[in-house]
Structures are given as C-alpha cells and as structure tokens.
Amino acid sequence: MSPAHYLALSALLLCLGAAGVLIRRNAIVMFMSVELMLNAANLALVTASRMHGTLDGQVFAFFAMVVAAAEVVVGLAIIVQIFRSRRTASIDDASLLKY
C-alpha cells in the first residue's frame, strides 16, 4: 500500500481523536482521545520512516510512546485526585480556575 493511504488513515484517526477531545465531557475519555491523536501521529511517523528509508521516524514514534506513557501516569493521577475531592470525572465540573 502506498504511504498516502497510511497518511490518510492517520489523518482520519487524528480528526476522530480531536472530535473526542472536543465533544466528550468525561475527563478519562477525553484523555483517551488524546491518546488516539498521539497514536495517529505515531502512525504518520512510522509511515514517514518507510517513505524515507530511515529508522529515525520509528525512533521518534518510540519517544512519543514513552512521553505518552509518562503523561498518562501523571494525568490519570490528577484525574483520580480531582475525583477524590469533587466526586466527579466530568471535566466541566473542574472549571473553578476561571476569571
């Protein structure tokens, strides 16, 4: 398959993830959507790696995974903390930090 197919798939998944972030209110689901966007980016990186015939793209994808793992750990810890204090996982209820 040509890289264009993979890139198109990556773009589609990215848009889906963005839609999830914008539409869903459950903080955890939002977070999952972010993960989907990261995965889409990783797919694009792997495809680019194949396009150019170097492994750098794969290494970048690898780093993206590591960073995503770190981010998930801290992010979920924050969500748990919010849940403990506010008894809700809805992101809209954590809106005290405003004007």
């Binding site: 914008l22 209110r25 992101i91 809106s95 005290l96 930090l97 405003k98 004007y99």
Partner: protein, 624 residues
C-alpha cells in the same frame, strides 16, 4: 599548640558557647558548669600566657599566632592573627578573671531561671568575642570581635525578652552601637585606602607618613566608635537602659569589660592619636562631658542599678579623659580601667545581691538599714564604695588621683572638671550607700532581706579584696607603668601648682561630697518612699540629662521628616506613573479574562482552531 596559645584562649569559651547553643535543652543540667569551667580554663590560659610574657625580656614580650589566612584579595591580605602583648595581656586577665568570678556568681543568681544554660552560652560568647577584640592584631579582626561583643551585649540585655522594656533596651543598645560601628568601619576603610593594610604593626609604622588631616579623620572615626561602645557623649543613652539585663551582665559587660573597649581602642591606637592634637582634644572633651553627665545622672536616679550605671558612664568618662590627654594619660586610663573593673563589678554584684534579697526590687527608696541583714554584701559594697570615691588606700584612690594629676598637667580646665567629678562621685555614691544600707528600713510589705548564698558572696569577697589592694598592688608591686611603657610610652608633665596641694585638695573635695550626702540622706534624715518632685536640675538628671530627647531631636526627628518626604515623592510621583501603566493593563486584562471560562473543552477548541490556522499557513507557504 602551647598552653598560652591565644587561639586556645578564644577557642575554649567559643566552643563551650557553641556546644551549649547547639545541644539546646539537652545540656540544661550541666550547662552552667560547662560555661563556668570554660571561663575558668580560659583564665588559666591567660595566666599562663602572661606568666610567659613576664619571663621574656622587655623588648620581646609578645606572643603572635597566625591561625589562618583569612582572605587575600589582590594585594590586600588579612590574616587571622592573634597576639598577646603587654596591653592585651592586662585585658585578658581582667576579662577572664572578672568574667570567671561573674560566671560563678551567676550560677547562684540565675539558678531560678529556666534559660540559665542559654545565659551561660551567651556569657561565653561574650568572653570569646571580647578576647578576640583585645587579641586581634589587625583592625578587621578587631572589628569582628567588636561586633561579636555588640551581639553578645544585645543578646544579654534582651535576655528577659518577655519583658518589653528589656527587648526595647536591647534594640536601643544595638542600634546606638551601630552608629559607633559605622565609625570603626569608616576608620578601617580609611586605613585600608591610606596604608593598604589594616594590621596594627603596618598601620602604626606608617601613620607618621600619612597626611595630617587623614590621621585626624581616622582618629575622629575611631573616637566615634569608642563613643558608641563605651557609652560616651553623645551616644551614651543606651547604657542606662541596658540595666534591663540580668545584674551579672551589667557587672561584666556594662561595667567591667565591654564598655572599656572604647578606651582600649584609643589606647591601642595611641600611635595615631599621638599625631593629632585635634583628635586628642576631641577625646578629652567627650570624656569630660561624659564624666560630668554621668555623675549628675548618678545623683538623681533612685534605681540602684541606674545610679551605678551613671557612675560607670562617669568613670569611663574619666578614662576617656585620660586617654585624651595623650602619653601623659594612657597608662593611668588603663590603670583606672582595671581598678574600676574590680570595684564596679564588685558593686554591681553587690547590688545584684541586694536585689536578690529584696525580691528583685531596684528602687533604693524601698531599701534602708540593710547593713545588718546583709553583712557580707554590706562589707564588700562598702569596700567598693571606698574604692570608687577614692579613699586611700583603696584602689580608686590611686587611679583617680593619677588621672586628676595628669589632667591638671595638661589643662587646668580638664583638671578642674575631673576634680569636680570626684566630688560629685563622692556625693552620689554616698547617697547610694546611705539609702541602701543605713537609715530606717523602708521595705515593701512581704520583703524579707537575707544574705545571698555562698556561690554569690564568694565572688563578692574576691572582688572586694581586689578593690581594696589592686590600686597599691598594680602601681607599686607589679608596676603597671613600667609594664606598659614599651607600648604606651608614658611621659610626665608639669603641674600648674605645687604637687603637695593635690592630694589634700582631692580628699577635701571628696569629703565635702560625703558630708553633703550625709546631711541629705544619712543621719536622721527621713527619706520619702515616693520620690519628691525635685528641682529642674534633678528632673533633667532623672531624664538622663536629655539623652533620649537629644537623640529624638537631632537624629530621629529629621530622619522621620526625610523619610516622610521620600515616601510622599515615591507615592505621588513614581508609584503614580507605574500604577497608571499597571491600571491600564489591569483594565485590558479585565476585558480579556472573560475568555477564561474554566472549561477545558473550550480551551481545547481554541487549540484546535489554532492548529488549523498554523497548519493552513504552513501548507499554503509550502505550496507557494
């Protein structure tokens, strides 16, 4: 390290202070013993060191020890060098000796204080700092000791910090001392600029080649420093308030040692003062004014410690007067400093003993007739009294007489003032004596005077003995004059009148003072428990002869007005412009902040829009 190492001398009390402060409450049980032992050990080292000096030939009576190179900046290098010579040898004996006695006394005096351990730590700190001050071989190290002494004094005056008056007094002492410290700092800087060094040998060797006005300025700066530390006019007002500290502190710091640091400084810098007549005259004038002021204040105070504090001011005024006289007076200043250290410590401790028996009441109008119930205290106090008013053969007689003589040799006016001071001294000391130990008992209800424990009376007895014999002993047995000659180069002048008249004259003036006091306060005279209003003179003296008012008018008032002006300028001009800018942006921010809805998803939407814009721009640029 030999036994008479100066570093050991300073180190022992310093380590003891560190141990007591670092261990905290854990050392409560034995803290006072450690402190006292450290002080006595230091005294032992001092004795050994001085014995060593004595055993040396006259020209090489000096122990130098460079502990380490403190710092080197370019060509300027300062070593931590400690040296014991004839002058500092005298001082270390006084400091550690009287200090040890006062440590012993404090074991008893402070036995009911829960912070006794801290008290001893501070005392040790003070001893260490004072020793550093007198042992330093350069002005910068002396400055360290100088500040250390100031710190210890601050800590000890404010020791009962729960009393508002004590902490205020501590602050006052510290701040006034800072004014003096400024003088010392200025002197050190001037020396550095002029000589490129601050060590004693270099400075004293080159001072002759410096321009005259520089020497004068250095001398005046040193005088300012001495005024601060020794409570001389116009920086005298802290000493009276410093009596808020525990009595042993008053005895050690504000009578025997610290306040003499100014005298030491001037005596040590004799090479500088010898070269500037203006500087010496200034010292003399300051000394004379303080001598009379202190004496007058001493007359009016009903608080026994404050009366003694006035006396201290006055006696240090004598010493300043003496060092101001130049080579004629240096030795006698040091001589009087020593004898005064003994009898004034003795009297302060005696006053403390009286207070101890009177439930810490300091008002002499509540005393009277204590000679029977406090026999030892009375006896020792009496010796101190005879010593200070200058009755032969007690210590003060010899030292004061020599100063009066030297003053007359230099100037008739100074001699007259010194003589008058001797009379007033006799008067107010007799007043203290009569009000406290004679007459009728005017005790408050519930007060049962009793003699203090042995741990307090033994130091009293020792000091009384010293007060009795030190004058004759130092002058004729040990021959202090000869001992100090290599350093202070004493000379003698010509009296403007027959020398045979001086001794009877002095004694007559003293006798007049005592007799006047007897009529006013002794015999059958009834002393009112409530102080009478008194005449304007007495009222002024009670108000410390306007010491505080002087500060208020000359320093604080103008300072406050200047600050107020600056604040007004700051608020109306500078702040206004800055705040105007800030207000503008606050207003703008107020409009923009409504974009912060707090909803994460709104932010995410904005981010997506941003991504679209950036992506589109990047894409279009790439295409074109």
């Amino acid at each position: 390290m030999s036994l008479f190492s100066p570093a050991l001398l300073v180190g022992i009390p310093l380590v003891s202070a560190a141990v007591l402060l670092l261990l905290g409450k854990r050392s409560n049980a034995w803290g006072h013993f450690l402190g006292t032992t450290a002080s006595i050990a230091s005294f032992g080292v001092a004795v050994a060191a001085v014995m060593h000096l004595v055993s040396q030939p006259v020209g090489s009576r000096e122990i130098n020890q460079t502990v380490w190179n403190w710092f080197t900046v370019g060509n300027f290098s300062v070593d931590v060098t400690l040296s014991i010579d004839a002058l500092s040898g005298v001082f270390i004996l006084l400091i550690t000796g009287v200090g040890s006695l006062i440590h012993i006394y404090s074991i008893g005096y402070m036995s009911h204080d829960e912070n006794r351990r801290k008290f001893f730590a501070y005392l040790n700190l003070f001893i260490a700092a004072m020793l550093l001050l007198v042992l330093a071989n350069n002005f910068l190290l002396l400055y360290v000791g100088w500040e250390g002494v100031g710190l210890a004094s601050f800590l000890l005056i404010g020791f009962w910090q729960h009393k508002n008056s004590a902490s205020t007094a501590a602050n006052k002492a510290f701040i006034l001392n800072r004014v003096g410290d400024f003088g010392l700092a200025a002197a050190v800087m001037l020396m550095f600029v002029t000589f490129g060094s601050v060590s004693f040998p270099t400075v004293f060797a080159h001072v002759g080649s410096a321009p005259g006005h520089t020497t004068t300025w250095i001398a005046l700066a040193l005088l300012l420093a001495a005024c601060g530390k020794s409570a001389q006019f116009p920086l005298q007002s802290w000493l009276l308030d410093a009596m808020e500290g525990p009595t042993p502190v008053s005895a050690l710091i504000h009578a025997a040692t610290m306040v003499t640091a100014g005298v030491y400084l001037v005596a040590r810098s004799n090479a500088i003062f010898d070269l500037t007549q203006t500087g010496r005259t200034a010292v003399m004038i300051v000394g004379t004014i303080t001598l009379l002021m202190g004496a007058v204040i001493g007359i009016a105070k009903d608080d026994i410690k404050k009366a003694l504090a006035g006396s201290t001011m006055s006696q240090i005024g004598y010493m300043m007067l003496a060092v101001g006289l130049g080579p004629v007076g240096y030795v006698w200043a040091i001589f009087h400093l020593l004898t005064h250290g003994f009898f004034k410590a003795n009297m302060f401790l005696g006053a403390g003993s009286v207070m101890h028996g009177m439930n810490d009441d300091v008002n002499m109008r509540h005393y009277g007739a204590l000679r029977k119930s406090m026999a030892i205290t009375f006896g020792t106090f009496l010796i101190g009294y005879l010593a200070i008013i200058g009755v032969p053969p007690f210590a003060g007689f010899f030292s004061k007489d020599e100063i009066i003589k030297a003053a007359f040799e230099q100037s008739v006016w100074a001699g007259a003032a010194a003589l008058l001071g001797a009379g007033i001294t006799a008067y107010y000391m007799s007043r203290v004596m009569f009000m406290t130990f004679f007459g009728k008992a005017r005790w408050q209800s519930g007060v049962h005077p009793h003699e203090s424990p042995a741990v307090m009376t033994i130091p009293l007895i020792v000091l009384a003995l010293l007060s009795a014999v030190a004058g004759y002993g130092l002058l004729h047995v040990i021959n202090l004059e000869e001992w100090l000659t290599p350093l202070l180069h004493p000379t003698t002048g010509e009296l403007p009148f027959n020398e045979a008249l001086l001794l009877p004259g002095t004694l007559a003036v003293v006798a007049v003072g005592v007799v006047l006091a007897w009529f006013a306060y002794g015999s059958t005279h009834e002393i009112p428990v409530q102080a009478p209003r008194g005449n304007a003179f007495i009222r002024a003296a009670r108000a410390d002869l306007g010491g505080d008012a002087f500060n208020q008018e000359v320093v604080i008032g103008p300072g406050e007005r200047l600050t107020a002006t600056l604040v007004a300028v700051d608020e109306k001009v500078l702040d206004a412009s800055v705040m105007g800018i800030a207000d503008t942006f606050t207003g703008l921010g107020g409009r923009f902040r409504s974009l912060q809805t707090g909803f994460t998803r709104s932010y995410a939407l904005v981010m997506v829009v941003g991504v679209i814009i950036v992506g589109a721009v990047a894409f279009l640029v790439r295409l074109s």
